[in-house]
């Protein structure tokens, strides 16, 4: 089996601007190429675009804009989980011997389709993600008797960490008291505890072991992959205080990488809502059940950037199809100790966790240098 490395990444700024999806894809890819010596395009055998945008043939449009004539090219969609699924798909082309290098480029606009779960009629009028966010937050707090302030501290940590991320939405680094006093949008969610759908792009370049030295001296290896879809609909979810698909995906990814959760030094986890972060940490095994919120609060108070160093979705913003790609780019940057003032302390093993639609599906990656 061919080993697969991440050999370059590029970002756009996240914003609320009305930018064309094609420009977002191309800008992040051009930044990627600049970051790895403007490589020979003929080595890129597949181009996968990750988005919920309804435009067709985007991967070929992007390829033409970049001067690439790939073998495989198509768009991949799985709501918020699109970006990490696209990276796994790119990995599989290389591991299968069908491609030497694969460009994965994710982009979204703030007004993208996919933000509201129109397909899930079991939700009735409650199609907006804040409703599942509320159900999960309440179930998690009640099950483990979590104080409201510990949930708010997750958001405070991520808003603070986003201040060191040059690509994050240009929000101020809201303090814990500002978050606690921010507008209550449901019984269980404050507005500053929620991520915001935004405009942005992110690209990564994957390469085989035999070719990665043509792109970089610092490959970051994808050593673990886990994916799980439980259902399409919320109505089949059995527990709301835990992310079931995440637990399966994390177990499989860690097993493939021959690591345990205790080995993870830095992680990006999908904090669509603040309570999702401790729930993810517990479902992955980084924290014991009921202790994720306290861990996140400790990290906040000690300034430890181990979890969501770029600010997560709450701090950085959430361009749906780009999020998984941006998370993976951040972990690669962290493992190369290349994250500037946002750098976590000497990480060797990194983890990416992404999910979609009330955690009905999850993807977990383990990365190592």
């Amino acid at each position: 089996m061919n080993r697969v490395a991440l050999v370059g990444h590029g970002m756009t700024e996240f914003s609320m601007d009305d930018l064309p999806i094609e420009s977002l894809l191309a800008e992040s890819a051009r930044n990627l190429f600049n970051s790895c010596g403007n490589p020979d395009r003929s080595m890129i055998h597949a181009v996968i675009t990750s988005t919920n945008n309804n435009a067709k043939y985007l991967s070929q449009v992007l390829s033409e804009m970049l001067g690439i004539r790939p073998r495989a090219a198509h768009t991949l969609e799985s709501l918020c989980n699109s970006g990490t699924n696209a990276i796994v798909s790119g990995y599989s082309y290389i591991a299968a011997g069908l491609a030497d290098a694969v460009l994965v480029s994710g982009a979204e606009r703030h007004d993208s389709p996919g933000r509201v779960l129109e397909w899930d009629l079991s939700r009735g009028e409650f199609a907006h993600p804040i409703y599942w966010g509320s159900v999960f937050t309440r179930a998690y707090k009640q099950r483990h008797d979590i104080p409201e302030e510990d949930i708010a501290a997750v958001a405070a940590k991520n808003h603070k960490q986003a201040a060191a991320n040059p690509y994050a939405l240009p929000n101020p680094p809201y303090t814990l008291s500002e978050i606690m006093s921010s507008r209550q949008i449901t019984d269980d969610l404050k507005v500053l505890e929620c991520s915001q759908a935004c405009t942005g792009g992110a690209s990564v370049l994957l390469a085989s072991e035999d070719t990665c030295s043509k792109f970089t001296d610092e490959p970051v290896w994808i050593t673990g992959i886990g994916q799980k879809s439980m259902s399409a609909g919320f109505a089949k979810t059995e527990r709301f205080d835990r992310l079931e698909s995440t637990a399966v995906a994390a177990r499989d990814a860690l097993a493939m990488s021959r690591h345990t959760a205790a080995d993870v030094d830095v992680a990006e986890v999908h904090d669509a809502f603040a309570a999702c972060e401790p729930m993810a940490l517990e479902s992955i095994g980084i924290a014991d059940a009921g202790h994720g919120a306290r861990l996140a609060r400790d990290l906040y108070e000690t300034g430890n950037r181990m979890i969501n160093p770029r600010g997560g979705l709450i701090g950085a913003g959430h361009p749906l199809g780009a999020t998984g790609v941006a998370q993976t780019a951040e972990i690669a940057s962290q493992l190369k100790h290349d994250s500037g003032t946002g750098q976590a302390d000497g990480p060797k093993v990194g983890l990416v966790h992404n999910m979609a639609a009330a955690a009905t599906s999850s993807t977990v990656l383990v990365l190592e240098q």
Copy 2:
């Protein structure tokens, strides 16, 4: 490297009906499961939906409808080429060791997005595919001095062959003279020489060598894969009398399978317009340059079903995201000598050719039992 086999397939009837996309996906998948002994769903590790439909999270909706909880699940789009690209993506998951079995399900409605190439502004008002169909038809006829009747004979052959296909659009088997006298919709295209966007679904199940015996005693192996994207836009196409992306994809697929074009016993080729069939045969190498139309006419006159035995896109109809899956299902059926009155004569090596958007991208598969 894990070998990958096609171990089952299922279809829906093609129609002009307003059916929900989810029902089309599920019906073809249920027919597939019935065809291979209603297998244990837990062996299906990935579900890939192929469509131009704008609905989100369709792969998870399909999975839930079918009782599958896959690892990977997402929708893939590359216009008319989506179905074959989805099969290659499914192949890569198995060959990479990430999945034992993968369900690929394609579906489309007659009123699907993607029929008109809105993104290609270089076309001006000529966004409908009939315009590129006309340009290609004229260039091909002029270059090789092809009589109008030889082009019409391609359509006559495919309409005739579709009469033996129980899933084809319910058109009469138009004769050569009916096609010759059918309405001229551009200077170079008659209406009965064009495929029709329609409603339909098709599914295939792929499995690893180690697991395929759990699904079937008659695996059909994918032994060759070739894919090429030249550009997104028509304006970059250098020659209009030949399918450049098809030539590259066919060369690579045949080389991977260690066959030459002369070994191909049965083929499905993308006849969006009648002239595309001889152009594809020449670009693949099944016919010499300028001789594809004569070959198709000879096949018509002798009743030889070697090319497009199910009737191709012209005879069967063209549900965009399902077409590549339906083509591949047909070749698998042909290689198992399971195509009833539509059976070609004893084929051992089969080929699938699909393409999108004026042949700016193509995928070619070689299949063998």
